[in-house]
Structure formats: C-alpha cells, structure tokens
C-alpha cells in the first residue's frame, strides 16, 4: 500500500505541470486540444509570441470548444485562464452569460468576415463555411444545393454529426433551419433516409467517411485543402450549394479575472496579425480571419468560395437551440 502511494507521489511530481520560479510573466490560454498538437498551430504561435513578449505562453488544452466553455463554467472566477481561444459563435451568448469575459479593447483589422462578425468581446481568429464533402471515387453527381441533398437518392448516404454533442452538428442544424424555416422538420424527415449515421463528433464522422463508408460527410469548405496538400490527392471535394453556406467562426475572448490583462491584450492584438494568422491555413486547416504575410497555398485557390454565407445571430441560436433540436429529434428518430 505504502509503495503504491510513493509511486503515486513520484508520478504526480514527475508529470504534473511544474511551476518553475521564473521572473517572466506567464500568459495562460485555454484552447481545444487539436490546436496545441505538435502538428497544430499552437507550438509555432507560442514560439512567435514569446519572441516578442518576454513572457511564457502556456497552452491549456481541453477537448473542444464546448468542453472549453464548460470548464470555464465549472471554474468560475477562480479560473487560471487569461484568454479563452476556440469558442464558436454559437457559444458566445452562453459565454457572455457567465460574466467571466470583458471587452478585448483592441483594433481588429477589417477582413473578409468583418461584415458577418464584429463583436467587441469575442474576436474572430479563423473561419470556414461548412460544406458537404464528397468522394470522387464513390459518386459522380454531387448535390449542388441543400434541396438536392434533401431530395437525392437514398442509396447515396451522408454522415452527419449529432447537434447535441458537436459544433459542426449544431452548425448543420442551424443551416437547415435557416434555409427551410418552418419546413425544416419535413426536410429533415426527407433527408433522414439519406443519413448513414449521426456520430457524436466530427472525428468519428470524418473517419467513417475516409474509410469509404459513405460518399458524403458534413465538414468544412477547407477540408479538401488538407487532402490536396498533405496527401496530394483531389479525391475529396466540396461543391457550392445554391442556398449558401453556414459559417463557423472561431473566436477568442479576454477573461475578466486574468492576472495580466495588458499582456493578454497584447496577445489578442498579435492574434489578428500576420505572425499568428500565417499558421492558420495549413495547421488549423481553416481560413485566416486576419491578414497574412505569406500568400495562401495555391491549393486553397482550388477551394470553392461560396458567394452567399449565413450566420444567425447567436442570441437567436441560444434561444431556439433546444426547440430546434427537439424538432430534429422528432423528424429523424422515427
């Protein structure tokens, strides 16, 4: 028994984060875990910022955007976070309701998405419209509108994510609602015969898709760029939908209880600058929300750029989310 506790103690001391005595201030940023992965933008951004700030940047990785918000709710004002990076716009109403954030108070250069998003508290750092990605080896004529997706043949299936557990799933639910309004329930009923399955998160859906289980999956306009750049294949593509595409915008906010707000503001300003934005396209596989120094890789030029983009007011989403999910359940769980 004692030897176990000794082992435990050793373990706790060896792999727990050690707070080294250090004169430099530390900036703690909560984000989702794929952001901080070795191949993600986290490590290079940390390096770039630390070169300019005379500080330590500490990433705290939490599963995903939703878990991030929940972590914050659990911690309340005792949170260690100076900045939370990685919420999506559908979460900002709830994030504001926690009263844990304050306006960032920085100057945001105008960009492609400024007209869709200009919040004082939550600053956009990247975005991508959702899109149906299809597999050239598995189908010939992909749908070119949401209508065609809904009405298309039942043999050609799509894999979706559950709006109760994942942000792309929620995004697609709002997309359907935005296009179909009152007729959304009927549309879901029709679509349900084309749904192969509804997975808990994006990873499960996309893995099934690349495994060849279905010719279509809900993902992002930017997804084909990964396959073109990293795998040198144009097997997977997106087509533009006539009704327009729903936008996912990822944002970051300044935490009110943070110990070092000037430094946190400096980071947010850095976040919208090229030194940060340059790492977004090929490491987070999203469109940079601000200007970059390097031009986007040429493969990004082959991606579709939807003319019409939708983004519902977060307040509307927060108010109706539950009833929309109930409607979706009624229509698809028959």
């Amino acid at each position: 028994m004692r030897s176990f506790f000794t082992l435990l103690a050793i373990l706790v001391f060896t792999i727990s984060p050690t707070g080294k005595a250090n004169a430099k201030p530390t900036l703690t940023i909560y984000t989702y875990d794929s952001f901080t992965a070795d191949w993600g933008p986290g490590p290079s951004i940390k390096k770039a910022f630390e070169q300019t700030c005379n500080c330590n940047l500490k990433w705290v990785a939490i599963a995903d955007g939703v878990a991030l918000l929940n972590r914050l709710k659990l911690e309340g004002s005792s949170t260690k976070a100076d900045i939370v990076l990685g919420l999506d716009t559908n979460l900002v109403v709830e994030a504001k309701a926690t009263n844990l954030f304050e306006p960032a108070d920085i100057t945001v250069p105008s960009s492609k998405i400024s007209r869709h998003w200009s919040d004082k508290t939550f600053i956009a750092y990247d975005y991508a419209p959702f899109a149906v990605i299809w597999d050239r080896e598995k189908m010939k004529n992909p749908p070119t509108s949401l209508q065609q997706l809904v009405d298309g043949p039942a043999e050609q299936k799509i894999i979706l994510q559950d709006p109760r557990t994942s942000t792309p799933g929620l995004g697609f639910l709002i997309w359907m609602k935005t296009v179909y309004g009152d007729k959304a329930e009927a549309a879901w009923q029709k679509l349900s015969k084309r749904i192969l399955t509804v997975t808990p998160g994006w990873s499960e859906a996309y893995s099934l898709f690349t495994k060849g289980e279905a010719p279509m999956v809900l993902s992002y306009v930017t997804s084909p760029a990964y396959h073109m750049i990293a795998e040198k294949t144009d097997r997977y593509a997106a087509t533009e939908f006539a009704e327009g595409h729903y936008l996912q915008i990822e944002v970051a906010g300044l935490v009110k209880s943070g110990k070092n707000k000037p430094l946190a503001r400096k980071f947010l300003q850095f976040m919208v600058s090229p030194a940060f934005q340059d790492h977004i396209p090929t490491k987070n596989w999203m469109f940079p929300a601000g200007n970059t120094d390097k031009p986007l890789p040429k493969e990004f030029g082959k991606l579709i750029s939807p003319q019409k983009l939708h983004l519902r007011d977060p307040k509307t989403v927060a108010k109706n989310r539950k009833s929309w999910i109930a409607e979706w359940l009624r229509a698809t769980s028959k």
């Binding site: 028994m1 176990f4 435990l8 373990l11 706790v12 792999i15 727990s16 984060p17 875990d33 794929s34 901080t36 992965a37 070795d38 191949w39 993600g40 705290v60 990785a61 599963a63 939703v66 878990a67 918000l69 929940n70 659990l74 911690e75 005792s78 559950d162 109760r164 557990t165 929620l170 349900s192 749904i195 192969l196 399955t197 509804v198 997975t199 808990p200 994006w202 990873s203 499960e204 996309y206 893995s207 099934l208 690349t210 495994k211 060849g212 289980e213 279905a214 997804s223 990964y226 396959h227 990293a230 596989w285 989310r321 539950k322 109930a326 979706w328 359940l329 698809t332 769980s333 028959k334």
Partner: protein
C-alpha cells in the same frame, strides 16, 4: 485471540476499500448536485416521451447484445476448454483480450474494415450482397466483438479450474459430453454466469460511441448520451445527476436480481486445480468445437487484422521517431500500471474480507465493484473537478484522478476473475491455515500466491489493458503534460491525420499484447517455492 485479530485486519482493509469507492462515486454525485442551478427536473424527466424511448432502446439493445455475446461465449469457452492443444490456441486467447483495450472508435473502425461498405466482406462479394451494418446490426456486431472474447476468457478461467479428479471420474464413468456438460461444466458456468452477464450488460447499457456511430441516427441513443448531452451543451448538472441516478437504479435492480441467482461455487476439493484437462471428445464434439473456435476466432481476429493492415500503411517509422509518441507510450504505461496496481489492491482487500458467514457483505462487494461501470466518466470527472477546485490547481491532481477512476473502472473485470478463484482457494485452505495459524505475509507467500498467481496476473493484465485503452477519463483530464496513446490517437483523428491514428492504434494493440504476453510469461514460470 489470534484468529480474531487475523479476521479483523482483512475486515478493516475491506471496509476501507469499500469506503474509498463510495467516496469517489458519491463524492462526484454530491459535488455535481450542488451545482444544479436549474433543479433536478425529475417530473419533467419522467414525463419526457423521448427519454422513455431512449430508455427502452437502451435496455433493448443491451439485452440483445448481452444474450448474443454470452450465448456464443459459453460454447466458445467450452470448445477452448476441451481442445487444449491446437496450434495458435494461446495466441488466439491473447487476441481475445485485445478488444478490451481498444477505444470504442478504434474498435468500430476495425469492425468496418471487415463488415463495412468498403470492408472485406463487401469487397469479396462485390455488389452481390451490398449490405450496410448501420443500425441495430452494427450495434450488435460491435458489442459482440467487444464482449464475446471478454466473456469467453472469463468463462474459460472458471472451466480451467475444474479439478483433475472430476475428469478422472468422468472418464471412469465414460460420461458422454452431454453428461459432462450437465454434471461438471454447467455447475461451474452457472456459478459465474450472473456476474459475467451483468458485466457485459452494463458495458452495453452505457455504450456511447458504438451506439451513436453505428446506430444510424438519433433513434439509436442510450441514456449515457442523454447524460453527456445534459452536461455538454446544456450544462445542466441537475439533469445529469438525475439521469445518472436513473441509470444507477436500473443497475441496482439488475444486480439485485443477479445476486439472487448467484450460486456459490460447487464444492471443489483438489490440491492441483491447475492441471490441464485431458483432451477428450468424440469426433462430432471436435467438429462442433472447431466450428465455434474458428468462427469466434475469425469474428474477433479479422477486424484486428484489418487494424494491423491499416496500421502498416501508416508511416510507422516516422511515428516511432516522434518524441510525442514515446512520451505518450510512457505516460500510458505509467498510468495504466498504477491503475492496475490500485485496482488489484482494492479488489483484493474487498475480497479477502469475505468469509462464509457474511454473504450480504459479499453482495455489497460485488455491487460496489460493478456499479462504478454505470457512472458516466463525465459525471465522475466533472464532480471531482468541482470538488478539487477548492484545493488548488486541478491539473496537478489530474494524474491521480485518472489513475483512481481507471482503477475503479477496471474493478468489475478484476472482480469477475478474482472472486471465484479466491472463494475457491479460501474455501480450500481455510481450515488448513486456521489450524496451522498461518496468516498475513506468510499465508500470502506460501498459500495464496502460488494458487492465485494465474488469476491475479490475468486480472492485472486485464486491468492494465483496459486502462491503457481508456479515452473517456483521460479526455476529461488530459493536458499537454499528460497525453496518453489513445488521446494522441484521437487528437490525430481530430486533425485529419487518419493514417497517423491507424499507426497509433497498431502501437496500442502491440502495447496491449505485450502486457498480456508478459503476464502470461510470469504466471507460467514455475515457482520454486511450491
């Protein structure tokens, strides 16, 4: 005096272990309940028709999955018990412990390698069959894939403890296979059946990724999903607690019923219980055994083969040169090893306190070591998060929490392996040790360990494999500092890196096989003391 003291220590240890489990589980519940801002909405929950539908479906799929898994596991285990020496037997049995260690999603992808749209069966048959397993069939296949091998191994450990004398008697009486089954095998199987049945049932009851991913739509949802949802987007701890209590209530009923049916083990008095069974059987029996072994073997091994082949297409060399991969492997091993040690200590402490007189205590132990399975990791995790917030940086507690929760999650498995073995040993040696006055370390070294070495190491290997593949707990507490192999795998999948994930899945499987191999090596080493 001496015997009284000897009884007291195990009782205290057993009581401490039970209290520890109670504190971990109920602590989380209470902490979460204090955060319930919107009330517990009990009346709203019981009138919710969709929820009723979920509960019905949850129970339905769990029952079907369990009956299928157990129904096939019994003849399979019997076949393995009868055919003691065919080539590949030990390898196959090691493979049977592998699904246990696979995160659900990895298992699902492996299954699709065989059964999927682009899987081998569909490829071989061309467009002839063109079937899709999504829906109830997919859920059942996946649950049988995960649970049939588990149940087979558990049944087999019991069958292999049937003493030599019985076989001698059976051959003297020239018993036909049917009588052997009725008089020798079935009494043993029957004794462990309720425990294994409830274990598999609970695993299917709380299935989450499998049911959602293969279920084909929100009609296939389990209560676990509803609990998860209420803590995620809704952040409604009150509702989560209520739903988790409903799930617990279902389990309590089930366990109570199963405890009713739990028979004490048949009276076995043998000095050499581990002697191999003589290979017997008519040609017909051999053919039947072969059918079960080959089909169960293919059912389990082919998806694993698909996993290996996928893994080999990844750039393994590149992965093996990444510091992050080695760090993850090391972290996984340290965490899993600690969890397995803690699990065995708890299990041993609880089981040692069982004597012939206190059967209600035995019931409590079997309940305590099972109920943890139906505590959703997200409930345990969030509850402890809230509790530990008051004591400083939660991240510094993370490794300890991961170890503790994983140890508790492995308890039901360890309990199913150890309880029958220990009961048998206890029964056999009780009078001997009492009369000789052997207790404590001497008893452990001279009496318990030599006989129980095999089940102990098996329980240890199972607990370690299970913790090695854990994703539910580590996903809540993992961080940059503590990344395990499954977490790294899931991160890779989350960033399009399917090939890396396939390579990591292969590494995970190899790590698990290594543990099982090592456990077997140690347990088959002849002890010089005996």
């Amino acid at each position: 005096m001496n015997t009284q003291r000897a009884e007291l220590i195990p009782r205290l240890a057993g009581f401490s272990a039970l209290s520890f489990i109670a504190v971990i589980t109920f602590g989380a519940f209470i902490a979460l309940a204090t955060k319930a801002t919107k009330g517990f909405a009990f009346s709203q929950i019981i009138t919710d028709t969709y929820l009723g539908q979920i509960i019905t479906f949850t129970l339905w799929q769990a029952t079907l999955s369990t009956v299928l898994s157990i129904g096939l596991a019994i003849p399979t285990a019997r076949a393995f018990a009868r055919q003691t020496s065919f080539p590949g037997r030990t390898t196959l049995l090691k493979l049977f412990a592998l699904p246990l260690a696979l995160p659900a999603l990895v298992g699902v992808l492996a299954i699709l390698g065989l059964w999927g749209k682009s899987g081998w069966i569909n490829q071989l048959t061309g467009d002839l069959l063109d079937f899709s397993i999504f829906g109830l069939p997919g859920i059942l296949i996946a649950h049988v894939f995960f649970n049939l091998p588990l149940a087979t191994r558990l049944f087999l450990t019991s069958l292999e403890r049937i003493p030599q004398e019985n076989w001698r008697l059976a051959s003297q009486l020239q018993m036909p296979p049917r009588s052997i089954f009725k008089f020798i095998e079935w009494p043993v199987l029957k004794a462990v059946l309720p425990g294994i049945f409830t274990l598999v049932f609970m695993l299917c009851l709380t299935s989450f990724t499998i049911v959602l991913t293969l279920g084909g739509g929100p009609a296939s949802t389990t209560l676990e999903v509803a609990i998860y949802q209420s803590l995620r987007f809704d952040f409604d701890p009150g509702r989560a607690v209520t739903l988790a209590l409903i799930q617990l209530a279902i389990t309590v009923i089930l366990l109570t019923v199963s405890f009713r049916f739990t028979k004490t083990l048949p009276d076995i008095n043998s000095l050499k219980p581990t002697d191999p069974r003589p290979q017997t059987g008519t040609p017909v029996a051999r053919i039947i055994d072969a059918v079960f072994i080959i089909s169960a073997g293919c059912f389990v091994a082919l998806p694993l083969l698909a996993l290996v082949i996928d893994g080999l297409t990844s750039d393994l060399a590149k992965l093996l040169f990444l510091a992050a991969v080695w760090k993850a492997i090391l972290t996984s091993f340290i965490l899993a090893l600690s969890a397995a040690i803690l699990c065995l200590i708890l299990c041993w402490a609880m089981l040692k306190a069982i004597t012939d007189q206190n059967s209600s205590y035995a019931g409590l132990v079997s309940f305590a070591s099972s109920a943890i399975l139906v505590m959703p990791a997200i409930v345990l995790g969030s509850g402890w998060f809230i509790l530990l917030l008051n004591f400083g940086d939660v991240f510094s507690f993370a490794p300890a929490l991961v170890i503790i929760i994983n140890a508790l999650m492995a308890l039901p498995f360890a309990h199913r392996i150890l309880a029958p073995a220990l009961a048998q040993a206890q029964h056999k040696h009780h009078r001997l040790t009492a009369s000789l006055g052997i207790s404590g370390w001497a008893r452990w070294r001279l009496i318990d360990f030599p006989v129980l070495k095999k089940p102990l190491l098996l329980a240890f290997a199972f607990a370690m494999a299970l913790s090695l593949g854990d994703l539910g707990v580590i996903a809540l507490f993992g961080s940059e500092q503590i990344t395990t192999l499954p977490l790294l795998l899931f991160k890779s999948l989350g960033s399009y890196r399917t090939h890396d994930a396939q390579g990591l899945a292969l590494l995970l499987a190899i790590a698990c096989l290594f543990i099982l191999y090592a456990a077997e090596k140690v347990s088959s080493k002849k002890s010089t003391k005996c």
